[in-house]
Point group: C2
Chain length 410, copies 2
């Protein structure tokens, strides 16, 4: 028996303030600590539904014992798409105002202000793409002014690289300004980075893997995707510029990557899927039929001021194309892999996803209430937000992806 969990007519007996990121139509999964325990939860309005308690209380069936009483979502994510959907339907029914709370259910709610959010996923491999045409073009114009801005491979494959998994942290984790080398006069300079930047990205995490040697066909790719989150790919531009030839970004990126704590499922995003942008030239067959885009609005706030407002819907490469490409050589995706989109930049000057672009490599500093900024200063607070809205659907949001820069440790 299937339930339309995104039905705009649904309301919950747990109140969600107007404009909340977490109405009953959203139901994102996360990991939280409260009262000395760490377990899975679902965001609903200003509360977290304790899934371990709801499961133990008999409200969720056909799941392994203790699946939500773990410090990561991986045990649930490994169960696959049918289990994700069935559980989502049961949570939706449990929270439905039309039936009201089952006995004891109020005790399964924790005020969001009392929940400490944790990294939701034990990450296997972390891949960072470069899938915004506008971002890749901007970077090309800045650093290769005398050549075509896009490199020859860019329109034929979703360019990407492996990032560091160990330093992926949950929203709110302070980011220590990294030390490193940069190109100097007569030898490299060394010290705290002088060009600390952000990259506004959107990521997806995989639930089901594939066996080594067997690619995931593009039409099956979304069955492997558990959900999406916001990503801040913190970057030290001076370190990156010096180190990155010929093997790519390394220490300029590996010091921290922040993700939002709530994983929004593809089922919740179904009302906000839109046709992907047209690709020219047509990609190779294994990248055709690449699935829809997601109409997701994004903003960056720096010290409380919005410095960019952009959209994820115009990304050149879709999630399905990214996953089909990653595995075309037979590599194995695992439960918990994180695939980030690359910086999301739009065409207008106020829709760019990095300070590198917003200030055009530092040439045009931003004038903010907190002062002039080319790159980040110690104490700066960066908050990224994302949400989906359209006529005929209830708005859903991703919550915050936040971080504060703290001084280098020398």
């Amino acid at each position: 028996m299937s339930r339309l969990t995104t039905d705009p007519a649904l309301a919950s007996w747990v109140p969600a303030p107007a404009g909340s990121d977490f109405p009953i139509q959203n139901l994102p999964f996360g990991i939280f600590s409260h009262g000395g325990a760490t377990r899975s939860g679902v965001a609903i309005g200003d509360h977290v539904l304790d899934l371990a308690a709801a499961h133990a209380g008999g409200a969720l069936d056909a799941l392994p014992e203790g699946v939500f009483a773990q410090p990561t979502l991986n045990p649930f994510m490994e169960l696959g798409h049918e289990a994700w959907r069935r559980t989502r339907e049961q949570i939706s029914a449990l929270l439905d105002a039309a039936t009201g709370p089952p006995p004891g259910a109020e005790a399964w709610l924790v005020p969001a202000t009392q929940a400490v959010m944790r990294l939701p996923v034990r990450i296997g491999d972390y891949v960072d793409f470069y899938s915004s045409l506008q971002h890749a073009t901007n970077v090309g114009r800045m650093f290769r002014p005398d050549a075509p801005p896009l490199l020859p491979n860019w329109r034929h494959l979703p360019v990407g690289y492996h990032g560091r998994a160990s330093s992926v942290v949950v929203s709110g984790t302070p980011v220590v300004r990294p030390l490193g080398q940069w190109r100097g006069e007569g030898g490299p300079g060394f010290g705290p980075t002088r060009r600390l930047d952000i990259e506004l990205e959107v990521g997806f995490v995989t639930g089901l893997g594939n066996p080594l040697g067997t690619p995931i066909p593009i039409q099956d790719a979304e069955d492997h995707i558990f959900g999406m989150c916001l990503v801040n790919d913190w970057s030290a531009r001076d370190i990156q510029a010096w180190e990155y030839v010929p093997l790519g970004p390394f220490l300029g990126k590996s010091f921290a990557t922040t993700v939002s704590p709530w994983v929004v499922t593809l089922d919740a995003l179904a009302p906000f899927r839109v046709p992907a942008v047209a690709q020219d030239p047509e990609p190779l067959p294994y990248l055709q039929g690449g699935g829809d885009a997601v109409d997701l609005q994004l903003v960056i706030e720096l010290n409380g001021e919005v410095i960019s407002h952009t959209s994820f819907r115009d990304m050149y490469w879709t999630m399905s194309q990214q996953l089909a490409h990653v595995t075309v050589n037979g590599t194995n995706v695992r439960c918990g892999d994180l695939y980030a989109s690359g910086t999301v930049s739009g065409a207008s000057p106020d829709s760019l996803g990095s300070l590198l672009e917003l200030t055009w490599n530092g040439e045009r500093p931003l004038q903010l209430g907190s002062g002039e900024r080319s790159f980040l200063e110690d104490g700066d607070v960066v908050v990224m937000r994302g949400w989906c809205e359209r006529q005929g659907a209830v708005r859903i949001g991703f919550g915050e992806c936040a971080g504060t820069v703290v001084p280098a440790r020398r």
Copy 2:
């Protein structure tokens, strides 16, 4: 009470044939399956000592219950350097011919031919360096013939990148020829790689990590290293050449990386440490005092013929320098990270670590008993071996790092 476990006078009551890789002075750790169970073992001669059985039998003390009855070495590796050394001393005493086997100890031995070796470590992040001066020079000469072969950063930092952890496999795992894109006329080509290559490397795995934000000082680096293994960084040169700008190698490498099953500890390697090569220019202070090199000889066999014989001792950057560099920006090392050296190439034409170099980009094919080879053919068997020997010490070896190429799946 400390025991010199590398004493050449030691012999074991478990016979080790002359020239065995695994005399009592070696005692490398691995994971094996036998009789339906998977647990930790130590190689001794032609046998594997079942450490779970030895622990349960009371021969190893001061260790957590079940530490060796797991499918990875990580629970033991997490215990740190003092526990590694103490356990090594206990295993050495247990196997000592001078005292003979304790009661029941013969039952803890499994013939190596009956043990199925597994990936020894649950890998966190996998980093691949580029630390052979000769290899980096050769690649520069081939691909940038009109420029200085070394890029400006190369002598100032150990260049590296993050590789894919999911597809690191144990010796003996077949390698499926990957599909992928390459540069073609009027658009990319696609199909099974036509330039499948090997890279002879040596890796180290970390036991103890560091907290995010706190670099590992170079003088402490070796305390974090559990041991070393051989690595074959399989590479598809045509895929790599098309994809790698500007973010580095990705699908040209991510389809498989093979490691040898036995992790040789730094304690076993102590007699074979030699001064590292002189560096010019002097590196930055955080990379000074970089520890000794390892005098480790390496060979590559292709279908039973030795095609390269080289040495690890002349690598430009040491393991300690690599680990100090990786963490200088504060990133966190975890138990089980794998750090590979990059291709190990010597100065002579028969000491190069890749077919790319051995055949000079395919221009000078090898003439072998199994036929002419520029790159690998389906069915080819590659075996890498490594060993240490010097006057006054007992020779120890790393065992095999082997793989067979199987046809692409289309």
